[in-house]
Amino acid sequence: SEVPRPLGVPLAKASLYQPRAGENSWTCLDGSRTIPFSHINDDYCDCADGSDEPGTAACPQGQFHCVNKGHQPVNIPSSQVQDGICDCCDGSDESETVGCPNTCLELGAAAAVQRRNAAELHKRGAERRQEMISRGKQMKAEREARRLELDQRRKEQELLRAEKEQLKQNAEALEAEAIEIFKEQQREVDADTAQAELEPQQMRQEASLTFVRYDTNKDGFVEVTELMVDMNLDRDRNGVVTVEEAKYFLDERERVDLDAFVTLAWPRIKSLQMLAEGLFQPPQPEEVTQQAEVTTEAIQPTPPKLSEEQAELAGDDDIEADEEGEEDQYDDEEPDVGVGEASPDVEDATPPNYDPETQRLIQQANEARNALEEVERSLREIQQEVNEIDEQNNKGYGLTEEWAVHDGQCYNFEDREYVYTLCPFDRASQKSRSGGPETTLGRWDKWSGEPKQYSQQKYTNGAACWNGPNRSAIINISCALEPKVTAVSEPNRCEYYFEFETPAACDSEAYQSESENLHDEL
């Protein structure tokens, strides 16, 4: 390999540094000029591409090749040649007067040891990873089996629901007729009835208006997704109305028609809406006006765009209130503002004293309703489980499901001030060691490694920083025998970096081929 060539030229380019036959001249590698061969490495930059000075610092854009026999060869910028600092382990970048020691053999040996250790680690880690893969695959199989089972059960329950629905309608028809007759009789007797009926009517009207507002696609149903844009319904104040949250208001259904909305959804929504209107009054008069405008518009049938704006508006307010760990305080307050207490208020009208026959029909209708309700609840439960399974499938537990076992686990790291927690596929958080609430640094977002996707995770949309963005966390993943968070830092304000080690990242084969590639390149 001792091919004679100018200083700083890699072996692969040695043939390019020959004088032109018969002449003592040489052409710059970019072809820009022909110069005397003696001008190569004469400490003056003649070529625009710097190719005439591979071994000096004369050309600003040049590269110097360190052979580094016994270790890895590298290219350094020519700005580091002859600057008095030993950059190449063989000392070839400096003149002899600087006296750079040749440390390549030691470094090479140390690197070899390091490579061996790393290979060993990957090998042993890969065995554990294999266990994780089996477990992950097993979990996936279980999920899929369960999913099929659920689909089957759903079909059964849907048939059952149709049947119960029919029964309910029949029973309700009878009930309605009986009640109508009963009411006819009572109407003259009870003078207060009119008054009493006003309220439900008013409520129905309010509910209808709200229904129209939510039903942005105008299909006569309010769906989960249509509710999810109303930030007033963000009960846990995390800035998002989740499917679960929305469903709560629809009595755990996917969608409701107007009637169901009036009877089931509105009582739950109304109290929150009233609360929201009360909650967002001053401090800032500007916001009040905006809020008022939106509310006025909301009474008329609202185009979809406006309700999105409203959602954003409410969302913004939320984030401002979210400063530091305060969101958790809101969590504690939740029972006070929850719907549970509000619902009984609107259903407290005492039922009239029906005659026995009417009562029997009502009783039957109630039973039919309950039976239907039971089927529907079962369907909801099925759907919920299906959703969970789908969500897990979508998280991406790696190419071979090796990450699945980490979902549901949490790992702590303590430094001088904080305890950091990483719950893979869920969230990253921080808690002061001296107590106080937990601050969310981010919620599971995605795999974000480049170019190796599964080498990094990203958690976003954590608690907002004062005067700054929402917190976020990047998880750098490396191979080790035990899963562990080894370091947490905040190099940018409100951007956290976790170092996470796990056997899931150990891959003996990939490591081998990578280090071989690296070797080949050099």
Binding site: Y44, P60, S79, G84, N467, P491, R493
Partner: protein
């Protein structure tokens, strides 16, 4: 910032009182028969004809066309403060000759200058070569509040004042007309703060007219235009060192530094006045240009004559101590001021290179990895900075043991790459009994005291803090000794210093600074010395670094400054904000600072507050690369902005700008040596070299580097061209030739030229007739360029000539003062370049001349020959763009040579 946190003139009792005189005028006269003349000066008694109070007047001639005028009370109740340590040393006496002495008029001459002193009303006219350039008290706005007893004598007096009172009885009792009924005369409130003012009113004020001037400039520090604006209808310019964050631009509000020097400039004459007073000072400016009212009056009255530009200095206490500098050219006036207050000494080269700072680099690993990233991206960088978070709880001289457990190893990581570290040391001292510095200061009584004699306690970064009284030489000595390496063991002699918050900043004090009735060494009130506090802090710091390593030139960056602080520190323009107007003001402000002695000036690149977008950041780097102090810095709440965190193109633009800066380091270094040698500012406004061109007076978006480069950074958003003003050398619109330093395209005419710019373009021209030394090899730090070869850029003038100088030495030690230096002039004429050394070139260098670039030749030479010691050798000549390049002369920097171009 909320301007409401700071006083207006109307809210400041003495400003209100002094300014009121502008309505009525005052009546001061010399007392006949009291005149005494000496070889260099004359004295006389001066009287206020309304209250008959008497004053001692002295006029001295100094060497170099400068006069010094002093007025103090003849018999003050207590001594009045005289500024110390602002002048670089004792003044050099000149000689006077009394030419004529008649009733009420004395005419003296000193060399080609003349002063005419009028007795009644008191007034002095200064003539340079028979042209009236400065008139003192021409408006009769002299106002001198003599010390007095408070009217209600029954108020309690501490016992030690009894003696004083007995003496007082001997003094003439004040006349009835001599009362000051301003409610703020004896105590004053601002917001929740009370100023006890035990000594009552003691303001001094005086007006200076500049009859030969068109414009006034000077009195930094203000975020305003280079040319001072009329204060008619606005507050005066204020000089009071204050900690102002996100300061307002185009404002006369006070900032961190106060340099009470002002210049009047007209096409024929430039003159200056240095008002040496360290108390709060307001300056009213009268100029014809922007004063709508007066021009309207003149229009109505048909009078063409507007009153000459004038300045009215109003200070809260002290004496009248004014230096009149008679020019006659702008550079003469700047040098006269430098002769009084000194210059920054030649800095180590690294200090002129690129600095990388942030509040804060989080820990050791952060510092080391940022340094490594600069190498990874091949961007030169010399110095990393650590802000307050590196300390253990803001206890200066200590380190956070968790984030920075191994400071020496971290420093070594930097210095092994040729880099430096700068750490912050602020003057506020944490009140913590476990902190040695606080214990020492408490035990030894080193802190500034309250009126009651207790240690003053304010609030700053560490929480409760006290402030060492740097006016006490013993305190300065103690402070300096703390930097000794056996004391401050966690740094090395390569670690330099950043003195911030030294106005002083006191978060809970009046106007965010110290109360005026605090007591300093010598029993002076803080009121008397406020603007000098930072200066005295710097004296301690500078002495500390010099004692630590007597053979290494200290580098200190300061925020607060006063006249003379330039001898100790560089300055930056403080807590600016990431918008285009703050970028523009960084040039305006540094130009004003430069003519007021502070050539070593810069602004936080990218701005302290806010997050600049990529375009603003790029342009800021480009502008910063052509200001003397070049540091990127950012607030702790901003996003990280190291260059590699931006898209590749932005990174390249930044890399480009930084590399360009490094290539011009030989010019910057030479300019700083010549500043030390001559007092000529390193960066200069156009009028410094183009005094005849009236249109150039107000151009403050451009600067000259010495007289060799003209720089017009791009400082507007989204532009594809900028208007550049090329100044005229005479009143016939003739111009120098200017060569674009990238393309060598030539501008030959004066006036505005629209120049296209892309992202990478920094519009810079080299003057035809100049030679600029450069180093065009890239290194990771400037210290590693020591032995690298030089390139000389020769731009020819209309006569085919050019000249320029180069200075070099070891770039670090004081050996240059023992002659270990090379100062060489290059001259090109008649197709030949020769050098001539100033003194013997005694510094031993390995550096040599790599190439010579000549722009402006009419014909292309076929070759060149170099002659050294009588031996000649042929050199290759290449044509490149619009230039001719002489390849590799190879001659060492300390050798005489001649290079002749040969034409076939």
């Amino acid at each position: 910032v909320d301007p409401g946190n700071f006083k207006t003139c109307e809210q400041s009792s003495f400003c209100r009182r002094s300014r009121k005189i502008q309505g009525s005028g005052s009546k001061y006269a010399l007392i006949p028969g009291t005149l005494n003349t000496y070889a260099d000066s004359l004295t006389a008694d001066l009287v206020n004809k309304e209250n008959h109070h008497q004053f001692a007047f002295k006029l001295e001639a100094l060497e170099g066309s400068t006069f010094r005028l002093q007025i103090d009370e003849k018999q003050p109740l207590r001594p009045r403060y005289r500024v110390e340590h602002a002048l670089k040393g004792p003044t050099q006496a000149g000689r006077i000759r009394v030419q004529r002495e008649t009733d009420g008029e004395i005419v003296i001459t000193s060399e080609k200058n003349k002063a005419v002193i009028h007795g009644d009303p008191f007034r002095i006219d200064f003539f340079e070569n028979d042209v009236l350039v400065v008139s003192v008290n021409a408006k009769n706005w002299l106002y001198f509040e003599h010390l007095r007893q408070k009217a209600q004598e029954q108020t309690f007096h501490p016992p030690e004042n009894e003696n004083q009172q007995e003496q007082d009885a001997a003094v003439e009792t004040p006349k009835a007309a001599d009362t000051i009924d301003d409610p703020g005369a004896w105590e004053e409130n601002f917001k929740s703060h009370h100023d006890s003012k035990p000594y009552g009113p003691e303001a001094v004020a005086l007006d200076f007219s500049f009859p030969a001037a068109k414009v006034l400039f000077g009195i930094p520090e203000h975020a305003d235009s280079f040319i001072l604006k009329s204060t008619s209808g606005t507050d005066p310019y204020r000089l009071y060192n204050l900690d102002v964050f996100e300061y307002i631009v185009d404002s006369k509000m006070a900032l961190y530094g106060s340099v009470p020097v002002i210049y009047g400039h007209g096409a024929q004459r430039t003159a200056g006045v240095y008002w040496q007073n360290a108390a709060e000072t307001w300056v009213d400016i009268q100029t014809s240009e922007t004063n709508v009212v007066s021009s309207l009056v003149n229009f109505v009255s048909g009078s063409q004559k507007t009153p000459p530009p004038a300045a009215h200095f109003m200070s809260e206490s002290g004496i009248v101590d004014a230096f009149i500098m008679l020019g006659p050219k702008p550079m003469d006036a700047f040098k006269q001021y430098a002769a009084l207050t000194g210059t920054h000494e030649l800095p180590q080269l690294f200090a002129l290179a690129y600095h990388q700072s942030r509040w804060n680099y989080n820990d050791e690993r952060d510092v080391t990895s940022v340094s490594a990233k600069f190498d990874e991206y091949n961007i030169p960088m010399d110095t990393m900075w650590l802000d307050i978070e590196h300390t253990d709880g803001k206890r200066y001289f200590t380190w956070d043991k968790f984030k920075f457990p191994h400071p020496l190893a971290m420093i070594k990581n930097l210095t092994e790459l040729g880099r430096h570290l700068v750490v912050i040391v602020d003057p506020h001292i944490k009140r913590d009994n476990n902190y040695f510095f606080h214990r020492d200061c408490t035990d030894r009584g080193y802190y500034v005291k309250t009126r009651e004699g207790n240690d003053y306690e304010g609030w700053c970064w560490p929480g409760a803090a006290s402030y060492p009284d740097f006016f006490n030489p013993v305190v300065r000595e103690y402070y300096a000794s703390q930097y000794a390496l056996d004391k401050f063991q966690t740094v090395t002699a390569d670690v330099m210093l950043w003195n911030d918050m030294n106005e002083p900043s006191v978060f809970n004090g009046p106007e965010i600074t110290a109360p005026k009735d605090l007591i300093h060494f010598g029993n002076w009130e803080h009121r008397d010395v406020h603007n000098l506090y930072g200066h005295m802090h710097l004296m301690g710091s500078f002495a500390g670094l010099q004692q630590r390593d007597p053979n290494q030139r200290p580098f200190i960056l300061t925020r607060a400054h006063f006249a003379g602080s330039q001898r100790y520190a560089a300055i930056w323009t403080g807590d600016n904000f990431a918008d285009w107007s703050h970028l523009q003001h960084s040039v305006k402000m540094c130009l004003t600072e430069a003519v007021a002695g502070f050539s070593f000036c810069g602004a936080d690149v990218g701005a302290f507050f806010g997050n600049p977008d990529t375009e603003l950041l790029e342009r800021w780097y480009q502008a910063g690369a052509f200001l003397p102090f070049f540091r990127a810095h950012a607030h702790i709440d901003t996003k990280r902005r190291e260059p590699w965190l931006f898209p590749e193109r932005t990174r390249q633009v930044i890399q480009n700008a930084v590399i360009k800066r490094y290539s011009y380091l030989p010019l910057w270094y030479t300019a700083f040596y010549e500043l030390e040698l001559t007092g000529e500012p390193v960066i200069r406004p156009l009028l410094a070299h183009y005094p005849l061109d009236k249109e150039a007076f107000g151009v403050d978006s451009q600067l000259l580097v010495q007289d060799r480069l003209l720089v017009r950074p791009v400082m507007q958003q989204g532009v594809s061209k900028v208007d550049v003003y090329f100044p005229a050398i005479d009143d016939k619109k003739n111009s120098d030739w200017w060569y674009d330093v990238d393309t060598y395209q030539r501008q030959e005419r004066s006036g505005y030229v629209s120049v296209p710019v892309d992202d990478f373009k920094i519009p810079v021209w080299q003057r035809g007739g100049s030679i600029v030394p450069k180093k065009e090899r890239q290194r990771r730090a400037s210290t590693l360029m020591l032995h690298d070869p030089y390139t000389l850029i020769i731009c020819l003038d209309r006569q085919g000539k050019a000249a320029g100088s180069l200075y070099l030495d070891d770039e670090k030690s004081y050996a240059y003062r023992q002659g270990q230096r090379i100062h060489v002039n290059y001259e090109f004429a008649h197709d030949q370049l020769v050098n001539s050394f100033v003194g013997k070139p005694k510094y031993k260098t390995l550096a040599w001349i790599e190439r010579i670039v000549i722009a402006g030749l009419e014909k292309v030479p076929s070759s060149a020959s170099i002659t050294v010691n009588g031996v000649s050798q042929q050199l290759e000549v290449l044509q490149h763009d619009n230039t001719v390049v002489v390849r590799k002369p190879g001659v060492k920097m300390d050798v005489d040579f001649a290079i002749k171009l040969n034409f076939a």
